[in-house]
Symmetry: C2
Subunit: 220 residues, 2 copies
């Protein structure tokens, strides 16, 4: 264990950064690998699923950075991220995603991720970000983080009061009015009122439509 840590330190001092790339998109893996290894300071290992990545780390492989795709086989959104983080405290883990929104990004960053990389980044920015993170820094693209902060999540959401949003979240989980009332610690008639008013606001005529509209809008 000490020997391995020492080896890692040597690796770092020699400026050869080991990066594990786990993504089911061959294209992304190929590109990152080519660009990073072209830099001369990176050594990359590529896998196509979360389970392969986990196996490598469990086998004792040392990486300066682990890149996990948000929507890859076995990843289950952020479940894989937390499992990987729990494996070894020393591993720096970052999330890369083509679809996830700002909320997900904030979640992983607050959870101590090395960074969040949307796939809308250019190859150059991506390589820079990977180097930045492998050096121990925390990275997130500022424009991406600001982008959805300006539009407070969604035009639909801003017409709803905070309470109505909480009720709508219950609807998107298939809960009954009674369950929502219990969870929010209010009476059922109140829930029914919020449900009714939010129907008008978002243009739904029943709870299923409301749940689907909220999901389509990317809420919750």
């Amino acid at each position: 264990m000490i020997a391995q840590q020492a080896a890692q330190v040597v690796t770092r001092s020699a400026n050869v950064l080991r990066v594990l790339i786990a993504d089911d998109h061959d294209l992304l893996r190929d590109t990152l690998q080519i660009f990073l290894e072209g830099e001369g300071t990176f050594e990359t290992v590529c896998v196509a699923s979360y389970s392969e990545a986990e196996a490598l780390v469990k086998a004792g492989e040392q990486f300066d950075l682990v890149l996990l795709d948000y929507s890859m086989p076995g990843m289950n959104a952020l479940e894989g991220f937390h499992k990987m983080r729990a494996l070894e405290g020393s591993h720096r883990v970052a999330i890369i995603s083509g679809t996830a929104n700002r909320d997900v990004a904030e979640q992983v960053l607050e959870a101590g991720a090395a960074g969040f990389l949307p796939k809308t980044l250019s190859a150059k920015s991506l390589v820079n970000a990977v180097r930045f993170m492998a050096m121990g820094e925390q990275y997130a693209p500022l424009d991406f983080m600001r982008q959805e902060e300006a539009t407070p999540s969604h035009p639909m959401a801003e017409r709803l009061s905070p309470r109505e949003l909480e009720v709508l979240e219950g609807l998107t989980q298939g809960k009954s009015n009674k369950e929502i009332a219990r969870d929010l610690d209010i009476r059922e008639p109140t829930v029914k009122l919020h449900v009714k008013t939010l129907y008008r606001k978002i243009g739904a005529s029943n709870r299923t439509q409301a749940a689907l509209l909220a999901k389509e809008a990317g809420l919750f």
Copy 2:
């Protein structure tokens, strides 16, 4: 017009294939551009949204192949594809996607697309596919097309009878039992029976949960 067509023919005879790449992922654009132009036989034009792509084509630019991302700004799933196809009969259009399933692929291929490219392809396969399509062939990765054909869309779907699937589709549109009955031309009690039985089969306890489960499973 005739001059433009002639120019295009000359371009083709010189084996320089013009490709328009529309994708909001900078990384994918960079990579495809580098790989394709590295071949020496491609000329690539890159944009990040459907509207930009449409503007270029409307301006009279000629391409041997137009690559459209399934989930880019302004694309609206397949709406952009059909709009682009309607623009000029001569333009070969292909869809590239990181998330779309086999149903979408079959839709676009039946609609006469030049091809369907999942982003799980390797860089090499992708370049080969682009060349293949630019030459006038129709391309789709066989393993991808077979993959979800073996699992008939979803484990959830195969437990449901055809009629139950139709009813479930109605649920995912927020319809009432009465509306579903009218649409399928059956009586409402029959709909209620199908609804009840499909609840048991997919593990839902109300119509909203059923609709959400179906959506999450990628059905409809």
